[in-house]
């Protein structure tokens, strides 16, 4: 296998909070390969955004304690100085944020904000940078770019603003684009446009994408590989096809069974995950998911599971203390529409096979 473009190794990010240390990212490792898309899925507080902000050094100012390594083209981004990092940020690695309105400066014309992104990394004349700005707006599908380059952000609709943000991120043809909930603030038809745009640009420019979202539909559309995060850790990672076809972690099962599907049976009841996401100041002992897990065993409250390879499924890793064949039988039961309690009863020792 070729060397990955980005390799995150045992990343930990901690913040000093009022009530104690917040373990926002708690030992996360993943790889992103050139031209591919990694989807990071998780709920609020799972650490999915903090891990990506840290990649760009954007958590340093908040007094975060960061350990681990983030290897990008042979350099460890965690160890780089602020100056060195600035040369990479917006140039080799770019980011698109959730809210396009608050990410654009309201008092500057869109063109000026785009040329700034270009001139921050390239020694080009203003006229050349402006030409590039028009070209970028055209690339992301904004009609009449030569005129719109002189408009202000408020003159753009939400979807158009997100296109401008993507144009800005692409200004210097990054190798890696990090998109944090890029379509969450948008309507569904506009979301479809933006996702299609990102896919087209990836094909044309060959960049890698990390897309962060809570929306399993968006992840299924976009990602080649998926990492599921819970309470600061990756609990499962595999190709997108395997995560949806043969998920191994009870939290992933819970997510998949929590959403109504447009193509599923309408009468089927949703199976919510009981309880609420845990505190990151006092995370649960043992497996972080154990207080909400329907299949918890006494020893799971003590033993902390490591992310380990799944037998007979190359590239699939899961952090779960249940036996592999128990997990598979449980998922079979859930797939057949049983509730977690019924599934557990069916696979318990003593139950008819």
């Amino acid at each position: 296998m070729t060397e990955p473009l980005l390799r995150v190794e045992d990343l930990r990010v901690e913040f000093a909070g009022e009530d104690g240390v917040v373990y926002a990212v708690d030992g996360v490792s993943y790889e992103v390969h050139g031209g591919r898309t990694l989807g990071i899925v998780g709920e609020s507080g799972s650490g999915k955004t903090v891990s990506s902000l840290t990649t760009l050094g954007l958590t340093r100012r908040q007094g975060a304690r960061i350990s681990g390594r983030i290897m990008f083209e042979g350099k460890d981004l965690v160890a780089l100085s602020e100056d060195e990092l600035r040369r990479i940020r917006g140039n080799d690695i770019a980011m698109v944020f959730q809210d396009p309105l608050s990410s654009l400066h309201p008092l500057y014309k869109v063109g000026r904000q785009l040329t700034e992104a270009v001139r921050a990394h390239r020694e080009v004349s203003k006229a050349k940078a402006r030409e590039r700005a028009v070209e970028l707006l055209d690339l992301v599908g904004i009609p009449d770019p030569a005129r719109r380059v002189d408009e202000y952000p408020h003159e753009f609709s939400g979807g158009m603003r997100q296109r401008v943000m993507i144009a800005m991120a692409l200004a210097n043809e990054p190798r890696l684009l990090i998109a944090d909930e890029p379509t969450t603030a948008l309507d569904v038809t506009v979301q479809a446009q933006i996702l299609a745009l990102m896919e087209r640009l990836q094909r044309e420019l060959g960049m890698a994408i990390v897309i962060i979202t809570h929306d399993l539909g968006v992840i299924a559309e976009m990602a080649d590989d998926i990492a599921v995060m819970y309470a600061g850790r990756i609990v499962e990672t595999a190709s997108a096809a395997r995560v949806f076809a043969a998920p191994e972690h009870p939290y992933t099962w819970g997510l998949l069974k929590s959403i109504p599907r447009l193509d599923g049976p309408r009468e089927a009841d949703l199976v919510p995950i009981p309880g609420t996401p845990p505190s990151l100041v006092h995370p649960p002992s043992g497996c972080h998911f154990h207080p909400r897990c329907p299949y918890v065993q006494p020893e799971h409250t003590r033993i902390d599971p490591a992310l380990e390879p799944v037998a007979d499924d190359p590239g699939h890793h899961v952090a779960c203390l249940l036996e592999s064949d128990v997990r598979r039988r449980l998922w079979q039961q859930l797939g057949a529409g049983r509730t977690p309690a019924q599934a557990l009863a069916a696979v318990s020792p003593g139950a008819p096979a």
Binding site: Q191, Q193, V218, S258, I259, R266, I273
Partner: protein
């Protein structure tokens, strides 16, 4: 359907917000046509879903029905009586029967009040359950109904998670035993796992209490899961309305089809099929397109569409559609509607 009188009958409901110029002497220079002539009925015991994108008028419709806004024109009949222009005691009596669940469980609960007093507020407003012990017992019964621990009566909103707060909002809405419950995006600010808890609660309450529910959301999968009938709105108009099964299986309005095709489905195995995406943005409701309001973005638009406004009509598949050239089965397949059968 049923021959009984519908609970609600909305006719030509219209809300225009004036656009003014000038600070001291204000002149009206135009109007945002948020809701522009909407008609529908709600049967007792059914759940009507209203879907549409930002600015389509779905939330304004909810606010008009609860009389939080006054209609510019049209009427809302509630149990056969026109409530559109009621005032004072008569309005207060109607408000007892129509309750609302809001989107944001953080800003819709007063942070300085205990949840016991938040849920009891409707009793205080309407002068019910004056005896203290009785009121407390009723509040605790409501808390139990929505799956909250009644012992948490004296706690404050900040001690609860988003999902639990939404349960508090539901308990408050149920307090007066309303005939109609309007839920405006009740789960869109919640995490996926919590969303399912609140959706299950609403569906369970609906079955147990026989609630009549108006469920407003932008998420088409959630609406399909929750509703008996669905109305699709675009720029202040209903473009299609009908029974859930028919509307999702065979959408006739090109906008309904485009919405359904745009929903990402959580299954990578389904991708790769052709999908036709809608171009452009929703036009301004201050200056909506002539004729059919969707014609500027519609792949099927013809000359007639820009001049003549289509009316809601039965096109032979069980829904009412406002379109001159409704979708055929083949077209529904071509644009990639995932719920089509």
């Amino acid at each position: 359907m049923s021959s009984a009188e519908p609970l609600v009958r909305v006719r030509d409901l219209t809300k225009h917000f004036p656009i003014t110029r000038g600070i001291v002497i204000q002149r009206k220079i135009g109007a945002v046509r948020a809701v522009d002539g909407v008609s529908f009925e709600i049967e007792r015991g059914e759940t009507l879903g209203i879907v549409g994108e930002t600015g389509c008028g779905k939330s304004t419709t909810a606010k008009l029905m609860t009389r939080l806004l006054d209609a510019t024109a049209g009427e809302i009949d509630f149990e056969g009586n026109d409530i559109t222009r009621l005032k004072g005691a008569a309005l207060k009596a109607v408000r007892r029967e129509v309750q609302m669940i809001f989107q944001d469980p953080y800003s819709s609960l007063n942070p300085r009040r205990t949840i016991g007093s938040i849920i009891a507020e409707p009793f205080a407003i309407h002068g019910l359950m004056r005896e203290k012990g009785e009121r407390k017992a009723e509040v605790q019964r409501l808390m139990e109904t929505v799956g909250l621990n009644p012992e948490h009566y004296n706690r404050y909103p900040h001690e609860f998670s988003g999902g639990q707060r939404q349960r508090i909002g539901v308990a408050r809405a149920l307090a007066l035993n309303p005939k109609l419950l309007i839920a405006d995006e009740p789960v869109s600010s919640l995490d996926v796992s919590i969303q399912a808890q609140v959706l299950n609660l609403l569906r369970d309450l609906q079955r147990r209490l026989g609630l009549t529910l108006v469920f407003i959301a932008h998420d088409l999968s959630v609406v399909r899961h929750m509703c008996d009938r669905v109305a699709v709105m675009y720029l202040g108009k209903i473009v299609e309305i009908g029974p859930n099964e028919q509307l999702y299986a065979f959408p006739r309005h090109p906008y309904t089809g485009a919405l359904l095709a745009a929903v990402p489905v959580a299954d990578p195995a389904l991708h790769g099929g052709a999908r036709r995406l809608l171009g452009g943005d929703v036009p301004s409701p201050a200056n909506p397109p002539s004729g059919c309001r969707f014609h500027t973005r519609c792949p099927k638009a013809q000359a007639l569409c820009s001049t003549q406004e289509p009316q809601l009509q039965d096109k032979g598949s069980g829904t009412l559609t406002a379109c001159h050239y409704p979708l055929s089965r083949e077209e529904v397949g071509e644009i990639g509607v995932r719920s089509a059968r």
